[in-house]
């Protein structure tokens, strides 16, 4: 019970500080919007294979803006030695990981709402004709990206070129999620359910399980000094 309370406070303090200082969300949403704009504008002339391209672009936009945000949630902790204070808090590193994971999940979810909305409006692709399916893909993709991003984000708290390095290092680990999520998104757009869709979905589930577990286990090793 105590764990849950501590977890709640760790999540809450991040959300409250974000609400007051607005350090992460505006920059992330700005980048997401801009990237979505550019991508959709370029899509105008494309006739064939639109769904395939849109599937990929949506996730690329989410990935780039999302990685920026995940880096910032950790970089934020550097001010006034918040990070050291957080690690002195009597919880195991696994709980810190889960708290950061939750915050990043919520952040990325907001980004997804914006990016998906923009793509629906600007690219004329029926992304939301099967809202439930799209929601499932978005959720699983979010969990996959967040688990990787949060795990490696802890590494680069104080490094100045951290966000570049983070994008660099997460890419090989996040590439399977990006591919699976894009492919699943394409199938949603093309309105193809069936075994292929389920296969990509189950891949996303397995990936998420692996990396959330890895995060709970390895986070301690990554953040100790």
């Amino acid at each position: 019970m105590l764990m849950v309370t501590q977890f709640y406070w760790m999540v809450r303090k991040d959300l409250v500080s974000e609400y007051r200082a607005r350090q992460v969300w505006p920059a992330m949403l700005m980048l997401g919007t801009l990237v979505s704009f550019l991508f959709s504008a370029q899509l105008d002339g494309v006739v064939e294979g639109r769904s395939r391209i849109v599937g990929m672009l949506v996730w690329l936009a989410i990935y780039f803006a999302g990685i920026l945000a995940m880096h910032r949630t950790f970089a934020m902790e550097q001010e006034d030695d918040c990070w050291d204070a957080l690690r002195l808090y009597p919880v195991t590193a696994s709980w810190i990981y889960l708290a950061k994971f939750t915050v990043n999940f919520l952040t990325l979810a907001t980004l997804q709402v914006v990016v998906l909305g923009l793509f629906v409006v600007f690219s004329n692709v029926p992304l939301l004709d099967h809202p439930l399916r799209m929601l499932t893909v978005a959720l699983l993709g979010n969990v996959g990206l967040t688990s990787v991003g949060t795990l490696l984000g802890g590494v680069w708290t104080e490094n100045r070129q951290g966000s570049t390095m983070l994008a660099f290092l997460t890419l090989p680990l996040a590439a399977p999620v990006l591919l699976a999520a894009s492919e699943a998104t394409r199938l949603v757009i093309d309105q193809e359910g069936g075994p292929l869709w389920w296969r990509w979905l189950s891949f996303l589930v397995v990936f998420s399980i692996v990396f959330v577990t890895a995060g709970i286990v390895l986070f301690e090793l990554l953040i100790e000094d």
């Binding site: 490696l152 660099f168 890419l171 680990l173 590439a175 890895a214 390895l218 090793l221 990554l222």
Partner: protein, 236 residues
Amino acid sequence: MQRSDLKIVSARWLTWLVTGLLVAALGMAMRVAPMEQSMGQVQRILYIHVSVAWLGLMGFAVMGVCAMLYLLHRNMAWNRWSQAANEVGWLCSSLTLFTGSIWAHAAWGTWWTWDPRLTTSLLLWALYSSCLILRGSIQESHRSARITSSLALLGLIDLPLVIMATRWFRGIHPTSPEMEPVMHFTLLLNVIGFTLFFSLLFLRRLRQLQTDNLLRKLELEALVNHPYPPLSAAGG
């Protein structure tokens, strides 16, 4: 493993043995082994491709196991093992992709296709590269070792996927085709020769890293005992 145990690296006879083996393997691969019927001369890439592919996988396994040992014992010696394996393994992994791509162009008619074996191998290469970059970009040694080891450990998941990709999933990459006895022997010779050669490179690199570590300690010690470096002598 201490420095003295690595004397074998500098043993002349071993160097000559490996050189001889490699020359024999090269000769067998380029001349003695028969030309393949449907693919022609290009099939001779098989001998180096399979050798370095196997060593790329081996390298990652060594790196992963050493990374785990480092994390358990926090002994920098294991990190040096893992770093040497990382460098040599990355080289082998890159060469696998390169030779494979050329062979694929001749045999399949494309430089690259998203076959399961190819995709997972590319991922393995990306993981190798990430670890390599990570090692160079963090100054503090234990921090760098800890983070790289964690990533190497995570990457270990990809290893069984690469190995089993042709058996578990349907793809265009052949599993282990039957071949003429001469070809088989040539392949075996090549694999053994390359394994010895790259192991030697690995041990050389390992020894360099150990020497570097030792020198660093001695330099620090010398700096403490002789606080004035030769600079002042030059000035006087």
